[in-house]
């Protein structure tokens, strides 16, 4: 009987049928995948989504969708509006009088000044605030402020004295109470990290000492050291004014972004000592005027502090606590996207305004997969963006396109100016010229870094057209070095040798150090590599200036203040550089408020650094994203924000072509 013969094959037939049916269903479902969802493969695990501390570029880009800063960088690396549609600097000068009548008299005197002169001074406004006269000048650093104070000096303003009290952290509350006491006439108080404080008061010098001693003696175990820092007719403070965008500066519940939110954000960010956000430490106060104006008052004349706001996510004030919980992934941001779901396998983001019909409506992020799984997923068109991606991209499939991502950091070769072996700038220049950075970049899938400033910013000096320089050999001969029969450079019998510090816990950097040492050896200089843990390099050797040369990685930050690295008093000046001209250039750059003048000042700093040969920018990383050609045809850019922006219209004379797949 044929039917009985077929009976043993029934399970196999059933299995084949189940396979065919399920395959047909799954494949048709996949083909009908909604265009409203993009799938992104991350370079690592699913991100924690800490708004202030993204672990990598991928997390930073996700956070950029969830949260909005006041200012962000545009594609050209220039500050562009975000929550703030406009911002500008002005100078506020406060001048205190014995009573309101005298302040009024001072104001009348200013009003009597011809309008042309006031315009020349940049004086925008003179306002009475109790017994003080608050002057507003168009820009910080204007000489008109001094002229106005000289004029007011004839109306007997109270002098303003600046004091530094070397207190300790536990004494903070005591000093706050002192400042709040009306009889002490403290106008401003400022605490350093170590607990020391500075106060601005209108009391006379003798009176301050006495009052301070009377206040502190019963409250503190010992009296802190106190000294006067200076005296002035008024207090000048630069003010950064943001005009918030009424349409964009709103939380998911419709409430506007307020000064409280910004203040709470700064409060949450400050203890984290975020790289590139040092400018936040100089904030004296944050005030609001109505719903749309936010004023940030600074205590120092530093234009570079603006950079601290670039890309800083503004978080909603948590209310009673006053501090947001930045690590909470579900924390609502002012961005156009929100976290809809998160589990072990994926992270789902949804548009907040999904009713608008804009596509895509969802972004689904998957953690990194093994290389073969990634290739398979790519082959099945299951992923739209892989990022950053180098695996399997040596021969990318035709439906995938590699696009460059912004560089995240650079690597510097730093010389120690105090080391006797490499103290001569000419010798350092020759050693720099012995290196073939292009070859090093090729080995490390990186690009040659050409500037001391972060890549791609509006102030970064353009790649320079280098004038012909003498080669390393000629340079060394000019300095009195001679090559022996083995090709080693010697001077007075001493071979040209030095030590290069490299981190033992960073294999790629160690390999790079070895490649550099080989290049130097070929050119006749002996570089011995000394390996230490990264923390030991910084904590034990760089901090104490005990090295000849070291490779130092640096993150690309939007700030242009380089004083910490190269100023003689800089916190990170590991090279021991002390150059008066460079210090002046750095100070001028840091205090520049006019963004249009920053590139020229940055160029001057860069040229001086090149003259000193204190460091050599080696490499900058060159990450890539791989995007689906079909999905992103006509959408330029590589970051999520760029890809999500509406597709650019094609020029009318070009015909639309379907991607070939």
């Amino acid at each position: 009987m044929p039917s009985r013969r077929l009976t043993p094959f029934l399970p196999a037939i059933f299995l084949a049928a189940a396979l065919a049916w399920s395959g047909w269903m799954v494949v048709s479902r996949q083909q009908a995948r909604l265009p409203g969802e993009w799938r992104v493969l991350l370079p690592g695990a699913l991100p924690e989504l800490h708004p202030f501390l993204p672990a990598d570029e991928a997390e930073r880009q996700i956070l950029d969708l969830l949260h909005e800063p006041l200012i962000r960088l545009d594609r050209q690396g220039r500050p562009a509006p975000a929550l703030a549609e406009e911002w500008r600097w002005h100078l506020r000068v406060s001048c205190w009088f014995a009573d309101a009548a005298r302040a009024q008299a001072g104001r009348r005197a200013l009003e009597a000044v011809p309008a042309e002169t006031r315009l020349e001074w940049g004086l925008d406004e003179a306002r009475i605030e109790e017994n003080a006269l608050a002057l507003r000048f168009a820009k910080p650093g204007t000489p008109g402020a001094g002229e106005a104070l000289r004029l007011l000096a004839g109306h007997s303003p109270q002098g303003t004295t600046f004091w530094r009290v070397e207190t300790w952290p536990e004494a903070r509350d005591v000093m706050r109470e002192f400042a709040a006491h009306p009889e002490h006439e403290v106008k401003r108080i400022w605490f350093d990290d170590n607990g020391a404080c500075e106060i601005v008061t209108t009391l006379g010098q003798a009176a301050v000492r006495a009052v301070l001693a009377d206040w502190l003696r019963p409250r503190l175990p010992r009296l802190p050291e106190t000294r006067a820092l200076g005296e002035a007719a008024g207090l000048a403070e630069p003010v950064l004014e943001f005009r918030l965008s009424p349409s964009r500066a709103r939380w998911p519940d419709g409430a506007p972004v307020s000064a409280d939110d910004v203040r709470a954000t700064v409060k949450a960010a400050l203890p984290l000592a975020l790289p590139g956000r040092e400018g936040l430490r100089h904030i004296q106060d944050i005030q609001a005027e109505g719903d749309g104006i936010l004023r940030v008052i600074y205590r120092r004349n530093l234009g570079s502090v603006l950079a601290a706001w670039i890309g800083l996510p503004i978080l909603p004030n948590a209310g009673a606590g006053g501090t947001p919980a930045p690590h909470a992934a579900s924390h609502a941001g002012a961005g156009a996207w929100r976290v809809a779901r998160r589990d072990e396998r994926s992270l789902l983001l949804e548009r907040r305004d999904w009713e608008s019909g804009a596509l895509p409506q969802r972004l689904r992020f998957f953690p990194a997969q093994p290389a073969h799984s990634t290739r398979l997923t790519l082959a099945a068109r299951g992923i739209d963006i892989i990022w950053p991606n180098e695996s399997g991209m040596s021969a990318p499939p035709p439906w995938v396109e590699k696009r460059p991502l912004p560089s995240a950091g650079q690597l510097l070769l730093l010389w120690n100016a105090r080391s006797p072996r490499v103290a001569d700038p000419g010798l350092r220049a020759a050693l720099d010229r012995m290196l073939d950075r292009s070859a090093l970049a090729e080995k490390n899938t990186a690009q040659v870094s050409d500037s001391f400033f972060p890549e791609g910013m509006w102030f970064t000096p353009p790649a320079r057209q280098t004038p012909p320089e003498p080669g390393a050999a000629e340079q060394l001969r000019n300095l009195g070095w001679l090559q022996d029969l083995e090709g080693v450079w010697k001077k007075n019998g001493v071979p040209l040798e030095f030590t290069l510090l490299a981190p033992e816990d960073n294999a790629p950097r160690l390999a790079l150090a070895q490649a550099m040492a080989l290049q130097w050896l070929d050119a006749g200089a002996r570089a011995s590599i000394e390996t230490l843990p990264q923390n030991s390099i910084i904590g034990e050797r760089l901090a104490t200036c005990r090295f000849d040369a070291v490779m130092l990685g640096r993150l690309n930050e939007p700030g242009y203040d380089m004083s910490a690295w190269w100023h003689s008093g800089g916190r990170l000046n590991y090279s021991g550089l002390a150059d008066a001209r460079l210090d002046l250039l750095l100070e001028a750059l840091a205090s520049e408020f006019d963004l249009t003048r920053v590139p020229a000042r940055a160029l001057a700093v860069e040229e001086r650094l090149r003259e000193l040969h204190i460091a050599l920018p080696l490499l900058a990383d060159a990450p890539h994203a791989a995007v689906s050609r079909a999905r992103f045809a006509g959408r330029p850019g590589s970051t999520l924000r760029e890809l999500l922006s509406p597709a650019a219209p094609l020029p009318p004379n070009l015909k639309m072509l379907e991607p070939k797949e």
Partner: protein
């Protein structure tokens, strides 16, 4: 400088490997064992009857076809399962763009179709060598179905581990498989224990198959022992002179059989990791997406090598194939 995705993958692998493997008696370990067992049993439930049906076709009247069919089936059973699995995955995803859910990070939509699409490809793949192996076993003279099934259960246990590695259907089983690949001592013991437990459970379940009652016969060894006692000779001396040369042939056949399966296992592993003499296979395994058909072709010499050893074992044991 930049952590590449390959680095990340390696890092993830290493992290996974270095993590404590799930204990055999822990819920995870037990869950993995049960999952493996269900795949093995499903594959045996399909391939056992199918192989019986096929064997019946040849046993009843087509005796001249029995030998070539058996050799062909055994050759198919020796084809590395990893090569078949990779070729199938490459054909589905690379050539047709179909999803292979176990290998992709995509979320499975709930439903019967997704569930079936996740498991049935693995069961089907496992059925191929099992059917061939059972079929070849049943065609042998004096074949015991129970022994054939027990052997197939061992093969199924090894096959599940291979599928876990290539298709990652059971993430928990991928760790033992990777341990075998990377020979990490901390997890190797665990992997061997897993494999032994699976094979043991499989054979134990297969042993439940009813076997025909055997007549009690006095064995040759018993006869020799009794004869030695009768003529006053030490039994061990007679066993050494007369019985050992007879036993040497099956022992050598056993060694050849073991070598045949070792070669097949090496072929399976050679698709995934570079092994000496199997560079072509590994290269084909690396390009399974672009040329899925090249992988079984590259695995054919390995299968032929195993088949040759297996035939040699038959010759040594029986004097003919």
């Amino acid at each position: 400088m930049t952590a590449s995705l390959a680095d990340t993958s390696r890092r993830l692998d290493l992290t996974y490997l270095m993590a404590d493997p799930p204990g055999l008696l822990s819920w995870n370990g037990l869950g993995h064992i049960l999952s493996c067992l269900w795949i093995m049993m499903a594959a045996l439930a399909v391939s056992g009857p199918a192989a019986h049906g096929l064997a019946a076709f040849f046993i009843n009247g087509r005796a001249w076809l029995r030998w070539p069919a058996r050799v062909l089936a055994q050759g198919l059973a020796f084809l590395p399962l990893t090569a078949l699995a990779l070729a199938a995955a490459g054909g589905m995803a690379g050539a047709r763009g179909w999803p292979v859910p176990s290998l992709m990070p995509l979320e499975n939509e709930p439903g019967l179709a997704s569930w079936l699409w996740y498991w049935t490809p693995a069961v089907t793949l496992l059925c191929l060598p099992l059917t061939a192996q059972i079929f070849a076993g049943l065609l042998a003279a004096n074949a015991s179905p129970r022994r054939v099934l027990m052997g197939a259960a061992c093969l199924a246990a090894a096959g599940v581990v291979m599928l876990s590695e290539t298709l990652e259907i059971l993430p928990g089983m991928a760790a033992p498989a990777r341990a075998l690949r990377q020979a990490h001592p901390a997890v190797l013991r665990h992997a061997v224990a897993h494999l032994a437990l699976l094979a043991g459970l499989g054979t134990a379940l297969a042993a439940l198959w009813p076997a025909p009652a055997r007549k009690h016969l006095i064995s040759a060894a018993d006869l020799i022992r009794e004869g030695a006692v009768v003529i006053g000779c030490a039994p061990w001396r007679l066993w050494w002179r007369h019985r050992l040369p007879v036993l040497a042939r099956p022992a050598m056949a056993l060694v050849l059989d073991a070598l045949a399966w070792c070669a097949a296992l090496a072929g399976a592993w050679g698709c995934l990791v570079p092994l000496p003499l199997l560079a072509d296979l590994h290269t084909a395994g690396e390009h399974f997406l672009e040329q899925p058909g090249a992988l079984p072709a590259a695995a054919l010499p390995v299968a032929l090598c195993s088949l040759s050893l297996w035939l040699a074992a038959r010759i040594v044991r029986h004097g003919s194939t």
